[in-house]
């Protein structure tokens, strides 16, 4: 079993951390994993990508991810400047941080899960340098949308990455996003 995931975000939003925490959750469940950034110059605010692989067997592959099974989008506006569906397989799932509906984002025909992760961050006052932290909560949404990792594993990975109060707050955001994820396929939403 191999699942490939691409994460879209902006430099500074924690796309790479989202990938590493995600694979940490899968690792806790006994999977073999890889997580890596899009290899290139990164600047705060610029569109960036990160990737993850979750496998039941040790991975020999070291090349890039071209046809992800899942796409996670951390930033609500990035779909305007980046094609988040590039290379996406039919039937794949996109998990987006947004208040809008898939049709409003030009994503009809794709399986989309949405959650207002920015809203959750503002609600919990989960901010870093004034910016809402969405990279942990979106993983809760991913767990619900994909079923590839259990919420409990994500929460454990979050708490292993951030200790004390920060860990608790991030974990709470993750739980809220899990609860509030809307699945826009199979007649839901």
């Amino acid at each position: 079993m191999l699942r490939e995931i691409r994460i879209h975000g902006r430099g500074g939003q924690g796309s790479v951390t989202a990938a590493t925490v995600l694979v940490q959750a899968a690792f806790i469940e006994g999977k073999w994993v890889q997580a890596f950034p899009y290899f290139g110059a990164e600047r705060r605010g610029a569109p960036v990508k990160a990737f993850a692989r979750i496998s039941s067997e040790p991975l020999l592959v070291h090349s890039q991810v071209y046809n992800p099974d899942y796409v996670i989008v951390l930033d609500p506006y990035i779909y305007k400047v980046v094609d988040v569906t590039e290379g996406l397989k039919k039937g794949s799932v996109i998990v987006m941080n947004t208040k809008r509906k898939p049709a409003e984002l030009g994503l009809e025909g794709w399986r989309v899960g949405t959650v207002d992760a920015t809203g959750i961050a503002l609600e919990l006052n989960l901010l870093v340098a004034g910016s809402p932290v969405v990279n942990t909560s979106i993983l809760g949404a991913f767990a619900k949308a994909s079923g590839e990792v259990k919420l409990a594993s994500v929460l454990q990975a979050v708490k292993e990455t951030w200790s004390g109060g920060a860990g608790e707050k991030n974990a709470r955001a993750t739980e809220l996003a899990y609860e509030r994820l809307t699945r826009w396929w199979d007649g839901e939403g």
Binding site: F27, W32, V33, F39, L60, S63, Q64
Partner: protein, 391 residues
């Protein structure tokens, strides 16, 4: 033993700590920086009992390592591309001084044009400096090889420095699972630092002084002998490591499904890992292909290459490097190794992945199929071909 998920760069830092390195002198450069940042964290937090010297350039880093090693302590540094090039004259000095320094080289393409992406031009262009060179295919191997390198370099039959090379970004910045052994197991495997000579204020002398034509050649011959010894010791140390820690890598050359192969694909680094996927797919299609990964480039495993050639009808090499005006180094040296043989397989050389151009298992399959077509025709179209080159 602890199982973690981390990058190859961080694992290199863990290895330096496990090896009880005492001095690290380093200068940052993408994509190496997180190796020494990790070590700096360890030293700062007291987890590693070492002196971290912040120098102003890579040249100073190597010279500081030479000085530290000369005083009788285990030293470590890391660099990439232009940083390695900047150290060039000091690299010669380190090997000529017979100091067992170990350095992580996070492979990155040389400019101009400026590139931060991986290829092996940096370390391969230093192949003549008298440094042992290892090339790793995954994160665990980086950790393991650094420990193996210290054991090898500090052997009295060797006393040479070693580069442990890992491709930038592909390994350096990629998180993957790894096992960290207990310190006690490492201490059993790696005895305290030993060197062939030590600078001592109580018994003062200076090292590597002027040698006239009467004796210089003999000093150089001794380095060549040390390299030959290293060639014999690498497989032994790898097996011993396997017994202690559970992972080994096939010594000088890691072979995969080469028995009875018509074609053997020779690679280095991570391409050697993806090549296994390509071989499995090709074998399923009924094609007789195997792959072999050159894990130690210096000393060059001539005897292993001769053995592989004896068992196959064709060898194709994939070089992540080009020596302008000639061809890829791996290709050249494979041919040189086979020149003296009566029966030689067909040979084709490929240049791939320069400047970080992604090399997938599909690419490697294409190279294999192209080579097999040449084998069918009994001749090679071009001695060296550039893979996926834009028109």
């Amino acid at each position: 033993m602890k199982r973690i998920v981390d990058t190859a760069n961080h694992l290199a830092g863990y290895a330096a700590k496990a090896a009880r390195v005492k001095v690290v002198a380093a200068y940052p450069i993408t994509p190496q920086t997180t190796v020494v940042e990790k070590i700096a964290d360890f030293v700062e937090s007291g987890q590693m009992d070492a002196e971290y010297i912040r120098v102003e350039s890579e040249h100073s880093a190597m010279v500081a390592c030479i000085a530290a090693a000369a005083t009788g302590v285990r030293t470590f540094t890391a660099t990439s591309a232009h940083g390695l090039a900047l150290m060039h004259e000091a690299l010669h000095w380190a090997s000529g001084s017979r100091l067992p320094i170990v350095m992580a080289v996070v492979n990155r393409a040389m400019g101009a044009p400026w590139s931060i992406w991986p290829d092996m031009s940096d370390s391969l262009s230093q192949r003549d400096t008298g440094w042992i060179q290892f090339y790793c295919a995954d994160n665990q191997e980086v950790f393991d090889t650094i420990l193996q390198a210290y054991k090898l370099c500090e052997d009295e039959r060797v006393f040479l420095p070693a580069m442990v090379c890992l491709e930038g970004f592909i390994l350096s910045h990629t998180y993957a699972p790894a096992k960290l052994p207990d310190q006690a197991t490492v201490d059993d495997f790696l005895p305290p630092y030993k060197s062939g000579w030590v600078l001592d204020v109580n018994k003062p002398y200076s090292h590597a002084n002027l040698v006239s034509p009467e004796w210089y050649m003999e000093f150089r011959y001794m380095i060549q002998e040390a390299m030959e010894n290293a060639k014999r010791l690498v497989p032994q140390i790898d097996r011993e490591y396997g017994k202690c820690f559970g992972s080994e890598y096939g010594g000088l050359v890691e072979k995969y499904r080469c028995e009875g192969a018509d074609l053997v694909l020779l690679t280095m680094g991570t391409m050697g890992s993806d090549a296994k996927l390509a071989v499995d797919k090709l074998r399923k299609e009924g094609l007789n292909v195997g792959s072999a990964r050159v894990r130690v480039y210096r000393p060059f495993p001539m005897e292993e290459i001769v053995k592989l050639a004896a068992g196959s009808r064709m060898i194709a090499t994939m070089d992540r490097h080009i020596s302008f005006g000639m061809e890829g180094f791996l290709g050249s040296e494979v041919k040189a190794s086979l020149y003296g043989q009566e029966d030689r397989p067909l040979f084709a050389g490929f240049i791939a992945g320069l400047g970080g151009r992604d090399v997938t298992a599909e690419t490697i399959e294409k190279v294999a199929k192209k080579s097999l077509r040449m084998l069918d025709m009994g001749k090679v179209e071009k001695e060296t071909e550039w893979v996926d080159l834009r028109e």
